[in-house]
């Protein structure tokens, strides 16, 4: 076991994990309708490539990439495309986003796929492209396209860290995956290691998961490039930068990435998905999700198809209890409250938490900030949540940026310890989106100013040109008029001379 370090702050939280680990992972039945959103990841949404009424096969691409930071979307089961419309998304705003609705035909027929040759011979960029085409995104919750993360971009990668920490209370999907399907993770790790040309792979697991540690350790003991590391149970040790600090003692620079330190962090479920994509040619169409909380009758983990409505899953978990009053997608610390359970499960949905009134009684009456400083003690990023709160409240955007608001990982530690129950993370999210909005407006305004200036100078230039043309024409006309006058004068002179000559001749004749 190598030496471990500590990150500043953090909290020890009650796990609530055992309520959902009593049963093994069960496969969720194919629902009546699948609602597959086109934008399930960080980056541009996919572009729909199927039409209404078209029959699709399982694993068929139904949404293509439009940008670099993007991932394709595939049909989770065979069936007919019923509609392509707007549907409420599993997003904090509950605003509608584009969704492809498929009616499964029950046959679950796979698309014909070609086996992929031995990856050890394959060029890493080709391997990354296959991972991209399989629509793999980070399954830890962030949904960042994995093929970009697996690009070393000129860095020498010393460590690929697979995150099996699962530090947030209630969530157990990674735990169950590690217990029941460790070979998937290790096969995936092999592929990812090849794509990165990484020296070593570490799978980090919190100490409260002894079965997972044992099951992975059993397979890892023969592999010299793989190390299974147990880490202390503290929230949020599963955060990328906190995990790197714990394992290596190194700090990822504020404006940098783990890549700058020669490390890449990915989730264990992502590794399993990579294994399915490369070794079985199966794109990302399902994931393991925890349905838990005191608001469902039988909490457990499911292997669910992407696009399954949440209401269906809750039914499979025994349905709601009488006093269930809040549905959260994600965990109690970083999850988002949903307004409706008709929303589909997406690639980033790792947990469905149904809460009852006793669960959130702690967020009782909000009182003024008493400047106690408890929030500063627990911040894992060493920020000043108290100052950030005051600045967010007063909308001092410049001060927010100078206090590194964008380094906040929104873990929620400060909100939990605040004795006045102030919803601090809400203020920080508000501050971040205000700064983002202001930046967008400034960019737009600068562009508008440039265009307005360009138009004004163009209009003036055309005016000046027209004026010059008029002046030139006038000058030309004047010159022509002058010339005409000259000619007329010359003609007059000649006429006069002629008349004078004739007169002289007549006079001479008369004299003679």
């Amino acid at each position: 076991m190598s030496r471990l370090y500590k990150f500043p702050g953090g909290l020890k939280l009650a796990g609530h994990k055992t309520i959902s680990t009593r049963q093994p992972i069960s496969k969720a039945a194919i629902p009546d309708r699948l609602f597959v959103p086109l934008g399930q990841h960080i980056g541009s949404p996919a572009e729909c490539t199927v039409e209404k009424g078209q029959r699709v096969l399982k694993g068929q691409t139904i949404g293509a990439v439009t940008d670099y930071v993007a991932a394709p979307v595939h049909a989770p089961s065979s069936g007919t495309v019923v509609d392509i419309q707007k549907f409420p998304a599993a997003h904090a705003s509950s605003l509608p986003s584009d969704v492809i609705i498929i009616e499964p035909d029950g046959k679950d027929e796979w698309l014909e796929r070609e086996p992929i040759p031995d990856i050890t011979e394959m060029d890493p960029s080709e391997l990354r492209n296959l991972i991209r085409c399989a629509g793999i995104v980070g399954l830890g919750g962030a949904a960042f396209p994995t093929f970009i993360k697996l690009n070393p971009a000129g860095h020498q990668i010393s460590k690929l860290i697979l995150n099996g920490a699962e530090c947030e209370p209630y969530i157990t999907c990674d735990d169950m995956l590690m217990r029941e399907r460790p070979h998937e993770i290790i096969d995936g790790a092999k592929i990812m290691r090849h794509a990165l040309n990484a020296a070593q792979v570490i799978i980090a697991i919190e100490e409260n998961k002894p079965e997972a540690i044992a099951s992975l350790q059993a397979l890892a003991s023969e592999l010299d490039w793989l190390q299974i590391q147990a880490i202390p149970v503290i929230y949020p040790t599963g955060g990328e930068r906190q995990l790197i600090k714990v394992l290596t003692g190194k700090d990822v620079p504020s404006k940098g990435l783990p890549l700058d330190l020669g490390m890449v962090v990915s989730n264990v479920a992502t590794a399993a998905a990579v294994h399915h994509a490369i070794d079985h040619q199966q794109p990302l169409i399902s994931r393991i999700i925890t349905v838990t909380g005191s608001g469902v009758r039988s909490p457990q983990n499911f292997e669910v198809l992407i696009g399954t409505p949440i209401s269906d899953l809750i039914e499979l978990a025994g349905g709601y209890t009488e006093d269930a009053d809040r549905l959260v997608v994600g965990g109690p610390m970083m999850g988002i409250t949903l307004k409706t359970d008709a929303t589909p499960v997406v690639k980033a949905s790792n947990c469905l938490l149904v809460q009852t009134p006793p669960d959130h009684a702690g967020e009782a009456i909000i009182r003024p900030c008493i400047r106690c400083g408890e929030c500063v003690k627990v911040c894992p990023v060493k920020l000043l949540p108290q100052q950030l709160y005051w600045f967010s409240q007063a909308k001092y955007l410049d001060d927010l940026q100078s206090h590194n608001l964008f380094d906040c990982i929104e873990c929620g530690c400060c909100t939990v310890v605040c004795p006045s129950h102030i919803p601090l993370v809400q203020y920080f999210r508000f501050g971040k989106s205000e700064i983002w909005k202001k930046e967008q407006e400034t960019i737009k305004a600068d562009l508008a100013r440039e265009r307005a200036d360009a138009k004004t100078s163009r209009v003036e230039r055309i005016k000046a040109e027209k004026k010059a043309q008029h002046a030139a024409r006038a000058k030309k006309n004047a010159a022509a008029a002058d010339r005409k006058k000259e000619i007329e004068a010359a003609v007059a002179r000649t006429k006069a001379k002629k008349t004078a000559d004739i007169d002289t001749a007549i006079n001479q004749n008369t004299e003679n």
């Binding site: 605003l95 509608p96 009456i365 009182r367 809400q426 203020y427 508008a448 100013r449 307005a452």
Partner: protein, 182 residues
């Protein structure tokens, strides 16, 4: 007595000479403050502040000739920023302006006659088209200033409010009424 008056008079003249010299030595040309104020304005060039563009409004503000609550597209945030920069009191937007909704211009193509009047009116060249050809508004460049609507002889330009989209959605400001439940 005379000596007193004389000596004080000489002192005052000396001071006067010093000040005269300094006023020449430390003369200030131009006004960088106008640039700063202009950078706070949204550059819509709509003229709703009664000035022909954002830069003239900025110049008038720095001279102190006008109010700071005239910019409609800028809204409350711009007024606050202007108040800070110019050291004045932040006045709220007048009621008739406060109901302004950000919109985009859309040309109804069935009615467009290709007269180019709207193209000439647009201050940021956001309308594409030429004589007797179809005109269209480039949505990304449109600032919603509404200057194209009056010149159109067939009234075929609509101002459509920008609907909130999942990509432009921002978190609402948390409202904390002390004693309220979260």
């Amino acid at each position: 007595m005379v000596l007193t008056i004389l000596s004080l008079g000489i002192l005052a003249s000396l001071f006067g000479l010093l000040l005269g010299y300094s006023s020449v030595r430390f003369r200030v040309e131009g006004d960088p403050l106008v640039d700063k104020v202009d950078s706070l304005l949204p550059q819509t060039q709509c003229g709703q502040c009664t000035f022909p563009g954002c830069r003239p409004y900025a110049e008038a503000l720095v001279k102190g000739e006008t109010e700071i609550n005239l910019c409609v597209p800028g809204g409350e945030d711009t007024i606050t920023a202007l108040a800070e920069t110019l050291g004045r009191e932040a006045v709220p937007l007048s009621d008739e302006h406060a109901s302004h909704v950000p919109s985009l211009a859309v040309i109804i193509e069935e009615y467009c006659i290709g007269c180019t009047k709207c193209i000439q009116a647009c201050p940021v060249d956001a309308i594409v088209g030429t004589a007797k050809q179809m005109h269209t508004v480039i949505a990304e460049e449109c600032t919603g200033c509404e200057l194209c609507v009056p010149p159109c002889p067939v009234e075929c330009i609509d101002m459509r409010p920008i609907k909130p989209d999942i990509s432009s959605w921002t978190w609402p400001q948390p409202y904390v009424a002390y004693g309220a439940k979260n």
